[in-house]
């Protein structure tokens, strides 16, 4: 079996992975870095991020305000020490990207321009028109090309982490082009594989977002944290799930129901104004907006389409000039994929699975409790996102924690010996498993697409915007059944070269594991907080649940749940209040669970 040796192994080549790779190279230029990605790095899902990246840069804004918006937006489940690090280091990281060439949009005087964003009290979202993620990813990828110590494994799929003597020492990976399976060893490993939106049927996430890193860590014994918090973005296009960025609302777009009524005013999100007001109405947080949509469906105020009920996003009053300069991609997407021109027509939208607040449990340096293993970006849960992430916080998170994880992993690698022989024999076992379970198997009957689509239905019905014990238990039972049926999976493709059928099967097994972790964590949290809304426990319960949920997989494949405390530094838990409300009203207002 082929083996390659590196000092630091990155799994995933998106924003977090590439930033981490550069951080390793800058920490110690003698370290050998491997970036393993199942797609060419510039295809990574960071590319799809539209709206922008938040960081305090303008006079009149403060780090404390960014921290407060993040913490209240996260319904007080964020670790406040992590948030303080995040808001402090975000401006420097975004400036670094500027120095590497990111074409940030500018003010007339040539300084960085900022725009408003949902849940943010000040304008602090940097943007590159509405293709921010695309520009950031290509800037980073092109910049990594100058580092000679970074070796890329493009289109390699990681199937397993190699753990010996309690330490992660590499991974087994499949090269798609040749079908070769080999060990890639390293002294530290960083997971940067992003989220898992594809567990659900209707998502903004690209087809590659199958929770690989979460499953790899979970199977290796590292805990997943706060998996019950799954973010619905309030404005996705029906059928395709294509995201219409929050920047549309920040620029002044309205959300209206079938009567043309700005319905958010009925859900404690403030009063309608002509111009957008920060933290008010359409600029409320994503969880609250998505929940308001469900209530409108129940009242019969939505519009029926072949792809389910929708509401309308109205940009017509913004005018052609603003739409073309600030939201060109939105117009392009509407024209190309919906045959709708937002300058003249209403855009049909519905909530759509967008982001995982939860992920692999890490500390503020990206280290997981499993020695040698690090994680950064959406795959990780530090946590700065708590129970609900604010729009434009995820991009800076990639760079702040990608850089921190890269540095920490580099320093750790310098202290480690080369991997043991056991690691190689583990990789051999894994190769055998893949061949026996998939490539040489002929008797399988279950189609990948069937199990996948039953998983989608189970997740949407059981663990959607609103959940309860009955819905979650049903989903848990169904996932158990699907995991058993997966043993009888049929692979149509028995050849080696670029076997995407095998990859789809491996991704499905990862998704079934991560889906189960989501459902089990959601069952355990008998309160409602942020994106986790239990109809049977409709209120936030700080007495029992101001804590993170940790889920572990035991060696016998059973699971166990634990709680870990939330770090509170300077912002004691309070009510979440949005809209134009006076301080006096604030104390009277009912919060959060409508």
């Amino acid at each position: 079996m082929d083996i390659s040796y590196h000092d630091v192994l990155l799994v995933g080549g998106g924003g977090a992975g590439l930033r981490a790779a550069i951080a390793v190279a800058e920490t110690n230029p003698n370290l050998s870095v491997a970036v393993v990605s199942k797609v060419y790095p510039m295809r990574s899902h960071t590319v799809s991020a539209e709206g922008g990246a938040a960081a305090v840069i303008k006079p009149g804004d403060t780090l404390d305000e960014h921290a407060y918006d993040t913490i209240s937006g996260g319904d007080w489940l964020c670790d406040q020490d992590a948030v303080e690090i995040f808001v402090k280091e975000a401006p420097e990281e975004l400036l670094r990207l500027e120095h590497w060439g990111c074409p940030w949009s500018r003010d007339p005087d040539g300084h960085i321009a900022v725009r408003a964003f949902g849940g943010m009290k000040k304008m602090r979202t940097w943007f590159a028109a509405d293709k921010t993620g695309f520009h950031l990813l290509h800037t980073l990828f092109q910049t990594t090309l100058k580092y000679k110590t970074v070796t890329r494994y493009d289109e390699w799929f990681v199937t397993k982490l190699l753990v010996d003597e309690g330490r992660v020492q590499g991974a087994t990976a499949l090269e798609l082009m040749s079908g070769r399976i080999q060990a890639i060893t390293a002294k530290s490993v960083i997971l940067c594989t992003g989220g898992c939106g594809r567990i659900f049927p209707f998502t903004t996430n690209a087809s590659i977002k199958t929770g690989d890193g979460m499953a790899l860590a979970f199977q290796a014994g590292a805990p997943l944290k706060d998996m019950e918090f799954v973010q619905y973005h309030p404005t996705g296009l029906p059928f395709t799930g294509i995201l219409i960025t929050e920047a549309t609302r920040a620029e002044g777009g309205y959300l209206i129901n079938k009567d043309g009524y700005r319905y958010l005013q009925d859900y404690n999100l403030g009063t309608p104004t002509r111009q957008p007001v920060l933290r008010n109405m359409e600029l409320g947080p994503r969880d609250r907006l998505s929940q308001a949509f469900v209530k409108e469906v129940e009242k019969g105020h939505t519009i029926d389409t072949p792809y389910g009920p929708v509401v309308h996003l109205d940009l017509r009053h913004l005018g052609e000039k603003l739409i073309n300069t600030r939201l060109p991609f939105v117009r392009e997407l509407c024209l190309k994929y919906e045959n709708i021109d937002p300058i003249k027509e209403l855009i049909p939208v519905r909530p759509v699975i967008h982001y995982m607040m939860g992920g692999v449990h890490t500390d503020n340096d990206g280290a997981t409790p499993l020695p040698g293993l690090y994680a950064a970006g959406e795959v990780a849960c530090v946590s700065i996102n708590g129970a609900n992430r604010l729009g434009s916080n995820s991009l800076p998170e990639l760079f702040v924690f990608g850089a921190r994880a890269g540095k920490a992993a580099a320093l750790a690698a310098m202290e480690q010996k080369s991997p043991s022989e056991h690691v190689v024999s583990q990789a051999r076992d894994e190769k055998l498993r893949l061949e026996e379970q998939f490539l040489r198997k002929t008797e399988g009957r279950e189609r990948i697409a069937t199990i996948r689509s039953e998983m989608h239905t189970a997740m949407e019905n059981g663990a959607g915007i609103y959940r309860n014990q009955t819905s979650l238990e049903k989903a848990a039972d169904k996932l158990r059944e699907l995991r058993e049926r997966f043993q009888g999976i049929r692979i149509d493709d028995s050849t080696r070269t670029f076997n995407t059928d095998l990859v789809a099967a491996l991704e499905l097994s990862f998704m079934l594991d991560v889906g189960s972790a989501i459902v089990e964590s959601a069952l355990d949290r008998t309160e409602s907080r942020g994106a986790h809304q239990r109809t049977d426990f409709p209120f936030r319960d700080d007495q029992n649940f101001l804590a993170h949920t940790l889920i572990y997989r035991n060696p016998d494949c059973s699971t166990r749940l634990e709680q870990s405390p939330v770090v509170i530094t300077r912002w004691p838990p309070a009510e979440r209040v949005y809209g134009l409300k006076s301080e006096a009203e604030k104390s009277r207002s009912e919060v959060g669970h409508g």
Binding site: V39, L95, H99, G101, P103, L145, A449, F498, D501
Partner: protein
Amino acid sequence: MAETISLEVLRYSPERDSDPSFQCYEVPLRKDWVVLDALNYIKDEVDGSLTFRWSCRMGICGSCGMMVNGEPKLTCATFLSSYAREKRPVRVQPLRYFPVIRDLVVEITDFMNKLQAVKPWLIRDQEKSPSEGEYIQTPEQLDRYKQFSMCINCMLCYAACPVYGLDPLFIGPAAIALAQRYNMDSRDEGAHERMDVLAQHEGIWACTFVGECTKVCPKHVDPAGAIQQYKLTAAIERFKSFLMPWALK
């Protein structure tokens, strides 16, 4: 039975086939389906061994470029219904001029090497630290290179370029446009370093200004314009180096 449409898809497995051949599939014709949806329908419901790349399904990741009825297209942005009136099946083939790995998947290592060769990163004589703030760049300065920065590396322009088809050493439209993206960026000082790669024979001189690259670009980048622009710059620089060798760095 709902309306259907026929697809002729090029299949090739290096382990099984000596030559590529077309396979025909009947798929539902739905108003909002793109060619990529049809391929996914085949993979999910008919034959899991059909092999193609895709990811974002929103025209930004650049994975799903293929030849559709002989034209390079992003299959996620190409509606099936636009072929419904034609009496023949929709023909789906791998991108032209690239080696085929399997079915609709082509090898793009050549491009990746060329991209790296043009040094697509910001080069400064003196780098500023982040604590000193941003490099100032006015919206007008941004506009000078912005369109070249929109390249998604989808390879449609290479599949459209007859020069690349004849001479694989030609560095090609996207790589040249990306080099120009940095050359035209007011923050960059690396144009002279990129000159070596760009001004050689396989660089810009090979382009005969067919302009097909610009026509097929799904992101409205104008690689043909970048190449012509650079030819002019390079000609002037060459002239200068001939007359006044001391004037160059």
